[in-house]
């Protein structure tokens, strides 16, 4: 069955009829052509597919497109046009916080959501650590990513 959805993706209104079992990750990538969101495990563990839905980081591989009716979705492409991005871009380059780039969108969205939450009310160090540890990277060994993230959140390394 086709499910009608009306949502916002990166600030633009999107209306579509989606298969009931279509994953948000597939909808974003294949239907909307937003290839920046990457699927790596399909189980919600690796976090590479993370997008922001109504301000919260979620696994797009564990979200149905059908569940997104009425929601505001932001992918890495959306974050790339947002106010937080120039700082994210500079921090990632400065700290060499990526190598193959596959996990990078998952970190960018996760960190963007953190920056916005942190601006409202300071996140605890434990919470920061917990969220940074929610995305898997196999290349960098994380030291550079953590350094970039903490710099973006105004914390010392």
């Amino acid at each position: 069955m086709s499910v009608p959805i009306a949502c916002a993706v990166n600030g633009r209104d999107v209306a579509a009829n989606v298969p009931a079992t279509a994953r948000l990750s597939d909808f974003l990538r294949d239907t909307l052509g937003l290839k920046g969101t990457h699927v790596a495990c399909g189980d919600g563990v690796c976090g590479n597919c993370t997008v922001i839905v109504d301000g919260e980081a979620v696994r797009s591989c564990l979200t149905l497109a059908a569940q997104c009716d009425g929601r505001a979705i932001e992918t890495v492409e959306g974050v790339a046009e947002a106010d937080v991005f120039p700082a994210i871009r500079a921090a990632f380059l400065r700290h060499n916080a990526l190598q193959c780039g596959y996990c990078t969108p998952g970190f960018v969205t996760t960190i963007a959501a953190m920056m916005r939450d942190n601006a409202r009310e300071a996140l605890t160090d434990a919470e920061i650590g917990s969220r940074i540890s929610s995305v898997a990277c196999r290349c960098t060994g994380y030291v550079s990513i953590v350094a970039a993230a903490r710099a973006l959140l105004g914390r010392s390394e």
Partner: protein, 261 residues
């Protein structure tokens, strides 16, 4: 914008606005229908067996499933409240919930996984089950015969009948007690829990709720920490290996020590 045509095998998709409607929808489809809460468990299953379902009943439009409210000396939390939201909202009355839910899956999954979904899943290594059991929670159910309430303990060992819907939980607000949670994980960053313990120390009553390996959470109590530990020791055979036993006992001891500190 190219949308793939829905195949004839796609399940129907429903967004009922009442619990009764949801239960009725599922009853109509029997084993080929499923409730969709946060989807963190159902969605991977859907992908493994795409043609197994005729109907998905999405619970997100049922208003009372999102409630978090004080009702007398209880807190009622609706089934669709996410782990993240519960962790924030209950922190004032249950300070231990912050550490308790810290390693449930990961931060993004916690933003979607729900209390109701977690209860229905009854994963042995579940911080949610441990917490609810430790605090004597009751689970509100809606089924073919209408609504009923059961203690969480009953649901840990006997899976919910297919079609029974968790509508919420009711947790007694604790009188002043000191609580602490200890968990051992294979990785510091998370992953599968090896063992966990939630200790509560109140005047004249100490309890420690533990789980480890494939064993569902169990609550041991006594008038003192040592009595609670003795009760745990009497249940050694419940745990599947020396290692799991060791982890469970270590978690219990540390949680009790920290609660008593």
């Amino acid at each position: 914008m190219a949308v793939p045509a829905a195949s004839p095998h796609e399940p129907s998709y429903h967004t009922p606005t009442t619990a009764r409607e949801a239960a009725a929808l599922l009853a109509r489809h029997g084993a080929r229908g499923r409730f969709l809460a946060g989807g963190q468990t159902l969605i991977p299953e859907l992908c493994r067996a795409p043609r197994a379902l005729d109907a998905i009943v999405d619970l997100r439009n049922i208003p009372e499933f999102g409630r978090i409210q004080r009702v007398g000396d209880h807190i009622e939390v609706g089934a669709m409240v996410t782990i993240s939201a519960a962790r924030r909202a209950l922190a004032a009355d249950f300070p231990v919930i912050d550490t308790c839910f810290r390693h449930t899956a990961n931060s993004a999954v916690r933003n979607r996984a729900t209390l109701g979904g977690s209860i229905a899943l009854a994963d042995p290594a579940s911080e949610i089950s441990t917490f609810l059991l430790a605090y004597d929670a009751e689970v509100l159910l809606e089924g073919a015969g209408g609504g009923r309430t059961v203690a969480i303990r009953a649901l840990l060992h006997v899976p919910l009948t297919h079609g029974t819907l968790v509508t919420g939980v009711r947790i007694p607000v604790p009188a002043r007690d000191r609580a602490s949670f200890t968990e051992f994980l294979r990785r510091r960053s998370g992953g599968r829990s090896l063992a966990m313990a939630l200790a509560r120390i109140a005047p004249g009553k100490t309890s420690v709720t533990v789980s480890g390996g494939v064993t569902q959470p169990v609550c041991l109590s006594g008038t003192s920490p040592s009595e609670a530990l003795a009760a745990l020791d009497a249940r050694r055979a419940d745990f599947e290996s020396d290692a799991v036993r060791a982890w469970v006992v270590a978690a219990a001891r540390r949680a009790l020590a920290e609660a008593g500190a």
